[in-house]
Subunit: 417 residues, 2 copies
Amino acid sequence: MTAQNAFYAQSGGVTAVINASACGVIETARLHQDRIGKVFAGRNGIIGALTEDLIDTSLETAEDIAALRYTPAGAFGSCRYKLKSLEANRREYERLIEVFKAHEIGYFFYNGGGDSADTCYKISQLSETMGFPVQALHVPKTVDNDLPITDNCPGFGSVAKYIATSALEASFDVRSMAKTSTKIFVLEVMGRHAGWIAAAGGLIEDHGIPVMILFPEIEFDQARFLAAVQEKVAAHGYCTIVVSEGAKYPDGRFLAEQGTRDAFGHAQLGGAAPVVANMIKEATGYKFHWAVADYLQRAARHLASKTDVEQAYAMGRAAVEFALAGHSAVMPTIKRVSQDPYRWEVGEAPLSEVANVEKFMPREFISEDGFGITTSCKEYLIPLIQGEDYPPYERGMPKYVTLKNVAVETRLPAFEL
Amino acid sequence: MTAQNAFYAQSGGVTAVINASACGVIETARLHQDRIGKVFAGRNGIIGALTEDLIDTSLETAEDIAALRYTPAGAFGSCRYKLKSLEANRREYERLIEVFKAHEIGYFFYNGGGDSADTCYKISQLSETMGFPVQALHVPKTVDNDLPITDNCPGFGSVAKYIATSALEASFDVRSMAKTSTKIFVLEVMGRHAGWIAAAGGLIEDHGIPVMILFPEIEFDQARFLAAVQEKVAAHGYCTIVVSEGAKYPDGRFLAEQGTRDAFGHAQLGGAAPVVANMIKEATGYKFHWAVADYLQRAARHLASKTDVEQAYAMGRAAVEFALAGHSAVMPTIKRVSQDPYRWEVGEAPLSEVANVEKFMPREFISEDGFGITTSCKEYLIPLIQGEDYPPYERGMPKYVTLKNVAVETRLPAFEL
């Protein structure tokens, strides 16, 4: 059997540990050079495949590849670009096959979330649909934790650790100030459809902090919310609120879309946090502070969960091992084997069951009043944020790697996206 | 000489390391119990002294006091409450003296910024002005880094490390996404008058990141700013902007006060970050993300600078040692003795020269175009963010201490603030 090359690409929003999966793919492939020749990475994800902009990862040193394990974001660039169906855009699939043929690519590793699983599934069907033999494996990644079958998604544990820690620290701050100043702290977190990240904020309750969560899964009830905030302030002197960017009014409008206008009358793209903070101020007069974590949360490799880093690496490694075992159209998964002590192992899921399925917070993870998390939710979350895995520092800042990312010489005519 | 008790209070906005100063005060006082009886902490700062709400720190274990070194925010509560002049409110000073007398307090340690230095100075004058002998020492603290004489202020180094690290991580993120999605990342940081914290964002330039800083010290020139952003995006594909909450238009309006109104016509208290992000979007069409770090930055003990922690502790210890040596109306300072390798020692400044003086960024620390920092600024900043000093973790989250904070029995009638 002659060695085939592999294609690896990062897709969608990046995370603190997606490069750890890349590290797992590349390091494992390097152990099997009799079977996998070179790993070519797509520059800016699948676009790199379409435009034949491939990065030759074999030109990176072992040290630099190892440094991917502690470097956040997408080392090869990512993209938001979803392949249409074969019927709708046959031209793109034909181009992919041309590029794969030109560079002797027989393995396709796609590192992303639900949309990417769908793309990966389509690629895996190319042997059937277009007669081109390629093994396509999906490597799970999403801070949103919304992929089905897998117990959790690489990227989520680190965001959860960051949000839980940051909410705890900021709550200590507001607790200090509450007597004469700030009584309300509102933290906005990611998660447009699923409240997993917001749920992590609920972990601070066990540290004695009065906290309320606004989930996308629960219709926002303003009157009940404001009453509950006032109760917490009466009891504790302050209150922390963690609001998901996807929190919605009963009519479906996002809290973040309050119809605010700037001085010129343009719609103002604010966040949910200032809306919630101002709403509380209106109703109660309490002084507030608010923060919007945005990219800080998903890029915060300095506070990654060790469990998450290990799982992200393991998913990359397992994808290569599955490929070498002849599998295709599958995704490695994380299976929770035991709760306490937490143990997990690698599982395997068919992409046909993963693609385009979103996993929301189960109702039993959300407290009855809709503003908190239950014990079973805490039991689910805590193992995922276990352990610290600090990057090295130099001159006071993390020493993250930027790869050389040398392009492979092109062999085909240019292609218009 | 009979032992006198000490009063310690935290004042103004708290920091990631103000408790390290408290730890320095209390641990050092405990070594000298022949001279300093007990350390009473004001619950919620100076308000605790006025209302005779004193916390008996002698009831806290040595372990819990040691844990203050790695616990963010104000363990005894802080407040925003500035004593008026003796002429304007003699009643408050008389009350303080009553409380100090009733609890045999001969030492006053006040841990705060510029306003607090003024309060501390007034207290130090009580022997002269009201015939009450008390030694008053100020322990410097402010994330704003705006106290005079001292080379830097405890609290600042940790915020600077947090902002530099977070801006670096988020920039790696936007760099990954820029090809098809986000090209602009705007991070809003604290510093209403002085741009020290924003300056720390400039450190990412040496990591290859195109970054622009908006300082409160530099009038915002919208046209020149937008042109510079477009240049950076043309050259790098993306751009990070770090904006100080105090950034202002030439007419003195804050960028954050864009006159935005919500759906009900109420003035919207937005941040500077969304204003800058939307302004860039209007002019260029670039997709953006923005974050407002707010309390997350000043509470982020999980990413404290080791240098900062050591200096905060040393300032607390030095204040007690100065008191024992008979000094009053002074503040310990940090003196930079050598740049490379960085060495510092404890100095001493008279409060008369500290109170109500603000130290702004020197113009030579800001690049000629007004949007960056100079080499001398980097040389100033880098030693302050050196070293990591991680807190212990338990179940995936930092194990911060919450003290018992037992109140001392009152001996006086109540007092209306």
